[in-house]
């Protein structure tokens, strides 16, 4: 047993001696309260440990015990619907132990060790198995099949396997070499889980947000950076996607953000029904929460715990989306710990390995063929919010992210101040997935998605140019055709790009609706142009009625779309008054 004792405590770090035989990233228990920590440096016989819990009150001379393991997370049935802290402890069980306020030193395993699950094997004893093979299934939530897999890197022959009710760590069978087979497994969070191969990205993750699906789509298995100053709508976007995106599983990492936002999620998600499955949104969600006042070291760990859980469901063959809000807080935790370790700082004080770590994190996204039999493909899409200081995108976290992600959803404070939500800056934003995903959208929409996208972007570009001119010469001085375009662009901004997260019918936009609204805007422009060509002056056009009808259509339920579109088209006929 270790005889290490603390010789120094400063912030989230503690130093202990003698700790020469510990391994880097080995998990340790610190002090009388057994706080969890991780060895981050060994030098001579002194080890430095980052502690995942509040360190106030920790004394010089207290003991430290190495555990022999790295930081791992328990993976198995029961994860869905749970709310975990940054290192995977269920916050409900922490609350049962320590009440309304979190006290350090609570042990609470990620999975409920006492709960029994009905297990149905899909293979028989005698079968040879290897890592990733599906052994059987458990119904984790009504209608959701949890595939129980052989842990990565394990191979052997099944000596026994039996259907029945098991707790997560109670063997339902074993291999010839005696290895017990259980519903749950553990995995070190800092290591990506292995996959058989990477596949091309071509299917979109349908977000239900018009501006993304139409202009800046994300592919399943892709990654997106969402940078924006405070209050520009990052969290609303992340939450909207968590609620409405067409994914099987959502892992939501609230990394260094607000407690009240989590209270909001916890109130809303269970009540909200996933339209595709008819089940509560909470049933497909795992929440990881490390609010801004919780320990920084756990903040650093939380994104790894989250992505490991996401990979686990991906390995079952599901389409998983990971929301990280905000990756900047993770990077700052890294910086804070780096600074206390007296590492040589790089750009803006961030450690020089920031880009490297960030890249490795994003690389855990992908569309993959999972290991093992039966053959199955899974996807892990990563959408991470970034909080640039002063809203300035030239900072290291945004820049390092842009080197690896496939799409940028840039948020603009100016648009947010104008209450133009989502405040996506359509000039700066881009998606490298637009071409690859277009065929899929076109087929669903029954029309050329790329062409519609191009038309919208051109219109917005022209609008931007004209508005610049207007500030110099005045809006009155513009040609009628240009004034028409400006007006239609307003309608596009209001009804196509603008989408209210608080309107029950608008918050989620089906592909049908997105297609329809954008198409009708083009028809409005065409109708206006025809009227101008026919000799009507711009001031004589009646744009207000179709505009209002389009606004109504935006708020309409899908069942009312056809009628609403007919009304808009009827009004278009009367544009020339």
């Amino acid at each position: 047993m270790s005889t290490a004792r603390l010789v120094r405590i400063s912030g989230a770090l503690a130093e202990a001696e003698p700790l020469a035989d510990a391994a880097l990233y080995e998990l340790v228990r610190v002090g009388e309260r057994g706080l969890l920590g991780e060895v981050v440096r060994i030098s001579g016989d002194r080890g430095t440990v980052q502690i995942f819990e509040e360190t106030t009150g920790l004394r010089v001379g207290e003991r430290l015990a190495a555990t022999g393991n790295a930081l791992t997370v328990e993976l198995g049935p029961g994860l869905l619907g749970s709310v975990l802290d940054g290192i995977g402890r269920p916050l409900q069980r922490v609350a049962d132990a320590t009440g309304d306020f979190i006290a350090p030193g609570t042990s609470a395993p990620t999975l409920d060790a006492g709960r029994r699950w009905a297990f149905t094997p899909v293979i028989a004893s005698g079968a040879p198995v290897r890592g990733g093979d599906v052994l059987g299934t458990v119904t984790e939530r009504p209608g959701f099949v949890h595939r129980v897999m052989v842990p990565p890197r394990v191979t052997g022959q099944v000596a026994a396997i039996a259907a029945g009710e098991y707790t997560v760590w109670q063997p339902f069978g074993r291999l010839e070499d005696g290895t017990g087979l259980t519903l749950a497994q553990s995995w070190p969070v800092r290591q990506p889980r292995p996959v058989a191969s990477h596949l091309a990205l071509h299917q979109p993750l349908v977000t239900g947000q018009r501006v993304f699906d139409l202009l800046f789509p994300v592919a399943e298995g892709g990654s997106v950076a969402v940078p924006g100053g405070f209050g520009t709508g990052k969290t609303v976007i992340e939450q909207s996607l968590a609620k409405y995106a067409a994914a099987d599983i959502i892992v939501y990492v609230g990394c260094g953000e607000r407690g009240n936002e989590m209270a909001e999620v916890l109130e809303e998600f269970p009540r909200l029904v996933d339209q595709r499955t008819g089940r509560s949104v909470m049933d497909r969600t795992v929440l990881l929460v490390n609010t801004s006042n919780m320990p920084v070291a756990a903040r650093e760990a939380s994104v790894y715990v989250g992505v490991t859980i996401a990979e686990y469901y991906r390995d079952m063959g599901y389409r998983v989306a990971l929301m990280a809000d905000s990756l900047s807080r993770w990077a700052e935790a890294l910086r804070e710990i780096g600074a206390r370790l007296q590492e040589m700082p790089g750009e803006e004080g961030y450690p020089t390995y920031l880009g490297n770590r960030l890249g490795k994190f994003y690389e855990r996204a992908g569309h993959v063929r999972a290991c093992g039999a039966p053959e199955r493909d899974g996807a892990l899409t990563v959408i991470s919010a970034i909080s640039p200081p002063g809203g300035d995108f030239s900072e290291p976290v945004t820049q390092a992210s842009l080197r690896v992600v496939g799409a940028l959803w840039a948020l603009d404070p100016e648009l947010a101040h104008q209450r133009q939500f989502p405040a996506v800056d359509w000039e700066t934003s881009y998606s490298l997935y637009a071409d690859a995903t277009a065929p899929w959208f076109s087929e669903r929409a029954g029309g050329d998605w790329l062409q519609l996208r191009r038309a919208m972007l051109e219109l917005l570009q022209r609008d931007r140019e004209l508005r610049e001119i207007a500030t110099l010469v005045g809006s009155e001085a513009l040609q009628d055709g240009d004034r028409l375009l400006l007006e239609v662009a307003r309608v596009v901004r209001d009804t196509v790009l603008g989408q209210s997260a608080y309107d029950p019918n608008d918050a989620l936009s089906s592909i049908e609706k997105t297609w329809l609204l954008a198409t009708l805007c083009r028809e409005l422009l065409a109708a206006g142009q025809r009227a101008l060509d026919g000799g009507t002056a711009f001031d004589q056009l009646d744009l207000a009625v179709p505009r209002r009808l389009l606004a109504d259509l935006r708020r309409a339920a899908d069942s009312e779309l056809a009628a609403g579109a007919a009304a808009v088209r009827a009004a278009l006929a009367g544009v020339a008054r």
Binding site: I9, G11, G61, M262, L266
Partner: protein, 467 residues
């Protein structure tokens, strides 16, 4: 922290606000320290770096005249605590919680750690009770709710503290709910303090308030403790006694400067503009102490005030604050110059919890559409104003011209309310009247239903809750 008090004679050294102590065998991080020199009043501090060989103590009082060799240092074996209790209502303390009103120290109900543990997110309730502040720009456009933290971003010479005083004055206890005000002055001048307190007394708010005052002339480092001592009391009133507590903290900018001073003294690698890299987490440990607990009465609502250096909203102090708080009320120098009070610029202002605090049964069913419409026309008017500055009003298209006229009136009549206190009903009515000066075709955000209801005079009755 259970270790008993230990004494040390003489320190290794002192530099700025830091005292260095050698061979501290059982020192704990965060441990409260008393430092005595014969014949002088004691200094207080806390351990911010605990080491077997050397420990660093942050001294909360001015260290001028402190001779390291002569001091006697007591490591008290406990962390910084504050006496909290109902009997503190009506009293005034310094930033460390010692009385400054000439009365004896309170016995209190309990002592609490000033650091405050994080509220477990699963035990929070989602805030959603509308607070009527009496200010149209807030109630109508950026609604405050109980359990929210909504800072005021002021600028040098702008009336941030006045606005806070007005909000506190407007506060009355509704439905007989117990409520209290905790005011923390951090590094503010005695003129500001006196003016604030005088209004306080006039409105009769004093007996349900607790004051923690650290003025410009008081020790800088004490500023780091003051908001935490105050929040310990606020949490006690809210979560132990079930009261609704409004915490006003002015001015956070001074707090951040004290934080920078410590970081500099420790020779830490400075972050943006010399502020430490951990300022986000540090500020969060203050701001996040607002909220409502599930299934329990009581709430802590925070109204911090800060001064944006050089009116720069991208300065780290407002920037990091905005990233933590649930919105912000931004004051405008331009409106202030034009005599508008309160000079709130509603565009960069935001209340993130507004959505859960408004609507039928709270304010009015049409509140959201109404405010969206006001925002839309006002935004168009502000754009038109920029355009008009170059080409003149005559160069504007008719709708732009109307929007510009609307923006002018909106600032004077809606935002500008002078000394008046407005009910939410009055606020909504003034907004409606402004909207009605425009033709229906300019009101793209209003649905026909809401418009028809307005024309029919179907005024909804707001349910009003005060802080």
């Amino acid at each position: 922290m259970s270790a008993l008090a230990r004494r040390h004679h003489g320190a290794q050294g002192v530099g700025g606000p830091l005292l260095y102590l050698r061979r501290t065998r059982v020192v704990a991080l965060g441990e409260w320290v008393e430092i005595r020199v014969p014949g002088e009043s004691p200094w207080r501090g806390q351990v911010i770096d605990a080491g077997r060989d050397i420990s660093v103590i942050q001294v909360l009082e001015d260290t001028v005249g402190l001779a390291p060799a002569a001091v006697e240092i007591t490591l008290t074996g406990r962390e910084a605590t504050a006496v909290v209790g109902r009997e503190l209502l009506g009293r005034a303390f310094n930033g460390m919680g010692l009385p400054i009103d000439g009365l004896p120290p309170p016995v209190g109900d309990a002592t609490r750690s000033v650091w405050g543990a994080p509220l477990n997110p699963v035990r929070r309730a989602r805030p959603g009770d509308f607070i009527e502040t009496g200010i149209s720009a807030i109630d109508g456009m950026n609604t405050l709710v109980r359990g929210q933290k909504l800072p005021v971003f002021s600028g040098p010479g702008l009336p941030g503290l006045d606005l806070a005083a007005r909000i506190v004055e407007g506060a009355r206890a509704p439905r007989d709910e117990a409520f209290a005000v905790v005011f923390v002055g951090i590094g503010i001048t005695s003129r500001e303090t006196d003016a604030f307190l005088e209004r306080f007394d006039r409105s009769g708010a004093r007996e349900r308030s607790v004051l923690y005052i650290n003025q410009t002339r008081d020790p800088t480092i004490e500023r780091l403790l003051a908001p935490r001592v105050a929040l310990a009391q606020a949490e006690h009133l809210a979560f132990d006694l079930g009261m609704h507590v409004l915490v006003v903290i002015a001015d956070l900018t001074h707090y951040c400067e004290a934080l920078r001073e410590i970081a500099t003294a420790r020779e830490e690698i400075p972050g943006r503009r010399g502020y430490p890299g951990y300022m986000y987490s540090d500020l969060a440990s203050i701001y996040e102490r607002a909220g409502v607990l599930a299934g329990k009465p009581g709430s802590v609502t925070q109204l911090p005030i800060l001064t944006m250096p050089d009116d720069d909203i991208t300065h780290p102090i407002p920037d990091l604050t905005g990233y933590i708080t649930e919105g912000q009320v931004v004051l405008s120098r331009d409106l202030h110059r034009r005599g508008v009070f309160p000079p709130v610029d509603v565009l960069p202002s935001l209340s993130r919890l507004m959505q859960s605090g408004i609507g039928a049964g709270k304010t009015a069913a049409e509140h959201r559409e109404w405010s969206n419409q006001l925002y839309a026309v006002y935004t168009r008017g502000r754009e038109a104003r920029l355009m008009a500055a170059i080409v003149g009003e005559a160069g504007l298209a008719p709708e732009d011209r109307r929007a510009l006229a609307f923006a002018d009136r909106f600032e004077l009549d809606f935002v500008g309310q002078g000394d008046a206190r407005r009910t939410i009903g009055e606020t909504l009515e003034i907004g409606w009247q402004l909207l009605e000066t425009l033709p229906r075709e300019d009101l793209h955000r209003l649905s026909d239903t809401v418009w028809a209801a307005r024309l029919a005079g179907a005024a909804s009755q707001p349910a009003v809750v005060r802080p």
